[in-house]
């Protein structure tokens, strides 16, 4: 259980900023090119795949062959081609949690990108034009105008991602089954549901309690927004 809690904290700490930042990067970059629709649909595609399917896709990527045969997994094939030793991405406790988080970012970045991109389009262009005329660099236009204007959307995306990451289950279940020190709260709950139902239910309650502060924060923020109107 301690492992599960620690892993969930790690997931929160790394995957939430990871998805939001990558989503932001894609939203900003694709906003400036003509093939925006194509690029965005490709980034969004993992969201359309079932999570179990995504897990199977990444099992192929992370595959390791310990025998004398060639590597089937593309990641280890690249490492071996560059002269390194193949890495057991899913069973080596040093890297496996991060490997799972990469899958999480791959899945959810499209979701963040879509919402952030919609917000980017609603930033009034007069504001940005005015700043550019005054000699602001692209970076300061982004950090001093774009980000503050779309801040409410960033907060919404972040809270949604926090709840999603707390609930994470499918990725861990398919890729490692919670073994090798990758267990998260939802996996622990699932594992105990038959053998120790009472404890499993207790874990479910913990999971709900963890999401309560975020829900309270969300309600508080909505109220504040209503009051502003």
């Amino acid at each position: 259980m301690v492992t599960a809690l620690r892993n969930n904290a790690l997931w929160l700490l790394l995957m939430v900023p990871g998805t939001v930042l990558v989503g932001m990067l894609f939203a900003v970059l694709s906003d400036r090119v003509r093939y925006e629709a194509l690029a965005k649909s490709i980034i969004f595609m993992p969201m359309a795949i079932s999570f179990i399917g995504a897990g199977i896709i990444w099992r192929f990527v992370y595959n390791i062959e310990t025998g004398s045969g060639g590597q089937i997994g593309i990641l280890n094939a690249i490492i071996v081609a560059l002269g390194g030793q193949p890495v057991a991405w899913l069973s080596n406790p040093i890297v496996n949690n991060y490997a799972l988080m990469v899958v999480g970012v791959w899945l959810w970045a499209g979701f963040c990108m879509t919402i952030l991109s919609a917000a980017l389009k609603s930033v009034p262009s007069e504001l940005m034009e005015a700043a550019r005329v005054d000699g602001a660099t692209e970076w300061s236009v982004f950090s001093k105008i774009t980000v503050p204007v779309i801040m409410p959307t960033i907060v919404v995306v972040t809270t949604t991602m926090v709840i999603n990451v707390l609930k994470v289950f499918d990725i861990v279940f398919v890729l490692t089954g919670g073994n090798f020190g990758t267990e998260v709260i939802a996996n622990r709950m699932f594992k105990l549901i038959v053998t120790d139902t009472g404890r499993s239910m207790a874990i479910a309650v913990i999971l709900v309690l963890l999401t309560v502060p975020i829900m309270v924060f969300n309600v508080y923020r909505f109220r504040q927004q209503e009051a502003m109107r």
Partner: protein, 82 residues
């Protein structure tokens, strides 16, 4: 003057295109892997990576290794024995 300014604009936006296209290709790569794998015979999936399809098309193309089915009489004998 006109073509030069155009070239200049293109060169200015080149890093943007390179970064975005690289990221998009990186994002689609795992799915392409599964897509290619779904067309390959089981033996080939177990022994070689899916990308080898693009380098050595003859070795892992489906149907290139003749698979010999057991003679019909043998399977019939097994069925009758069971």
């Amino acid at each position: 003057m006109k073509p030069f300014s155009r070239l200049n604009r293109f060169l200015k936006s080149l890093p943007l295109h390179v970064i975005l296209i690289t990221l998009v290709l990186l994002w689609v790569l795992p799915t392409v892997g599964l897509f290619v794998t779904s067309f390959r015979p089981r033996e080939a999936v177990r022994t070689t990576g899916w990308w080898t399809v693009f380098f050595r098309p003859n070795r892992s193309a489906p149907g290139s290794t003749p698979r010999i089915a057991p003679p019909v009489t043998a399977t019939m004998a097994k069925a009758s024995a069971a």
